[in-house]
């Protein structure tokens, strides 16, 4: 028999504390679409995506209604396009971006990820062409997301790729400066990129994945904050336990939605990504959880420790709740998408240096950070290299998604709207890293890579 308290708790979590399924992402392999004729390949890509994902949005909406749980995004990720486009010599890969956009519109999804290249150990045919085309691809499409993996623990960091990505990020911002430099918000540079990540803009469908699969990302920072708020006098061990229990419940919802979606779509179920991903809505913020644990404002001393505790407790609670955990799993700390982080950035409580330290203990990395428009390409490349180094040494995924605010200066704000939120332009270090970046080459893999 269903318990009355459980019913009320569930409804409260959904209604007042913003518990939601952040995303159902269908991963689709495009390996069978490869053709040396780019028009034929694009036709194959369009047909495959629209065939596999034709019912995705409908099924998502049905599940949302039946279980009364909001499912915010229905999305698609595909095989990194650099692999698909490698066979089409001499043709611009932007055609693939336009095809992805068309397919996304036909399926009714708001974002499609996979305009990607994996270059952690070097560039293969097609990789460079694709990377160079990213600024154009992101400016002529609105739903296509792009990512590039420039390093891993096993291979080290491709410094040449870091340098190129510094240039590409800046160009993305410049090409979309009339849309608040939004192009750069759809581009992520990874180290140790997971192949089953359901979260944009970094989602792509790895080559080791099945032909078609459903991945689910859950989220509920508000629920965690409310649970912590109920224990004002608890010691920190008890707080960790409270977070663990609530993370379990959140993840169970993801497991239920994932299995149900997979059953109805006739597609295997991949993973639940048990993340706490914030939105700009007040009450849906990871920063507020840290403040609830006891910081005056996120970014002050103690932030890294509380975040480490939060991230670990979320993983521990979630791992028993689902049969398949994967993706990034943990707390996300994007600046522009989190009300508490936006406030902390505005008041100067948080700096890029502190954010970098925090990324050593949580998911993803420097995410949705607005930097001054006069930032040099080499400085962006160095930010990418720093963040990749944290990921490489610590055997974890890190990423950089910075948005150079062309024409704006420190203290100005960029407004992206919707889930992307808004963010103040943050201070950066203007001393030049150019000599280091321009050396190029490969940063060797660390000792941790020699596990075989």
């Amino acid at each position: 028999m269903v318990n009355v308290n459980d019913i009320l708790e569930t409804i409260k979590m959904i209604q007042e504390e913003n518990l939601d399924i952040r995303t159902i992402t269908m991963g689709i392999s495009l390996l069978d679409c490869i053709d040396s004729d780019i028009d034929k390949a694009c036709e194959n890509v369009y047909n495959k995506i629209t065939h596999c994902a034709k019912d995705l949005v409908k099924v998502g909406e049905d599940i949302e209604k039946e279980y009364g749980i909001p499912i915010i995004n229905k999305r698609i990720s595909v095989t990194p396009i650099a692999i698909v486009s490698a066979a089409c010599k001499g043709a611009s890969p932007v055609k693939f971006a336009l095809t992805m956009e068309k397919a996304a519109i036909a399926c009714g999804v708001n974002l499609i990820g996979g305009y990607s290249a994996l270059v952690q150990k070097g560039f293969s045919a097609g990789d460079l062409e694709l990377i160079e085309s990213i600024p154009e691809a992101l400016s002529v499409t609105s739903r296509v997301c792009s990512s590039v993996n420039v390093g891993s623990t096993k291979t080290g960091i491709n410094l040449d790729a870091c340098k190129i990505m510094g240039k590409v990020v800046k160009q993305c911002a410049e090409k979309t400066k009339d849309q608040n430099c939004f192009g750069a918000a759809k581009l992520v540079v990874f180290c140790n990129a997971p192949e089953d990540n359901p979260f944009m803009a970094g989602a792509f469908h790895g080559v080791g994945e099945p032909d078609c699969i459903i991945n689910v990302g859950v989220s509920g920072p508000g629920v965690v904050r409310a649970a912590v708020a109920k224990c004002p006098d608890a010691d920190i061990t008890e707080i960790a336990d409270v977070i663990k229990k609530i993370a379990f419940k959140i993840t169970r919802v993801g497991q239920l939605v994932g299995t149900e979606a997979s059953k109805r779509l006739g597609v295997p179920f991949g993973i639940v990504d048990l993340s706490l991903a914030p939105t700009p809505a007040v009450g849906d913020s990871v920063a507020y959880i840290l403040e609830e644990i006891g910081l005056e404002q996120c970014g002050t001393h103690g932030t890294t420790a509380t975040l480490a505790l939060l991230n670990d407790a979320v993983k521990k609670g979630g791992v028993m709740a689902s049969s398949k955990i994967g993706g990034l799993s943990g707390a996300f700390i994007p600046v522009s998408e989190d009300a508490g982080m936006i406030e902390a950035a505005r008041s100067g409580a948080i700096s890029i240096e502190k954010l970098e330290a925090m990324t050593a203990v949580c998911s993803v990395g420097l995410d949705m950070i607005v930097v001054p428009g006069d930032i040099t390409e080499d400085t962006i490349a160095a930010i990418i290299a720093d963040e990749a180094a944290i990921g490489m040494v610590n055997f974890k995924t890190t990423a950089v998604r910075v948005i150079p605010a062309i024409g704006s200066k420190i203290g100005d704000e960029l407004e992206f709207g919707g889930l992307f939120g808004s963010g103040p332009v943050m201070k950066i270090n203007y001393k030049s890293p150019s000599k280091f970046i321009n050396r190029g080459g490969q940063i060797p893999a660390p000792l941790q890579s020699l596990k075989n």
Binding site: V2, N3, V4, D6, I7, L8, E9, T10, I11, Q15, D62, K65, E66, Y67, G68, I69, K249, R252, V253, Q255, L256
Partner: protein, 89 residues
């Protein structure tokens, strides 16, 4: 298969009747009802068997949402699986 219907809002005559009428129209059998009125706040939880529904479950949800809007009440219809999976190991 069962569904939980919850109704919260200002009390008035006939809420229970209207909700159960919609259940009957869709052939959802009411198994259990708990209801309290705290001052003038009406709160009800109803457990229904939906295995014999004569329409899609989502149609029933839509109808209840419509009723909630016209009466100014918060009505939620949720499949019981969500409670079972969240609160039971």
């Amino acid at each position: 298969m069962r569904a939980v219907i919850t109704v919260i809002g200002k009390d008035s005559v006939g809420i229970l009747a209207k909700v159960s009428t919609i259940c009957a129209q869709h052939n959802a059998n009411v198994i259990d009802v708990t209801q309290t009125v705290m001052q003038d706040l009406f709160a009800m939880i109803m457990l229904t068997d939906i295995s014999g529904l004569n329409s899609d479950f989502t149609k029933l949800v839509d109808k209840m949402n419509e009723l909630g809007k016209t009466l100014g009440l918060e009505i939620h219809v949720m499949h019981e699986d969500i409670f079972n999976s969240m609160h039971n190991i």
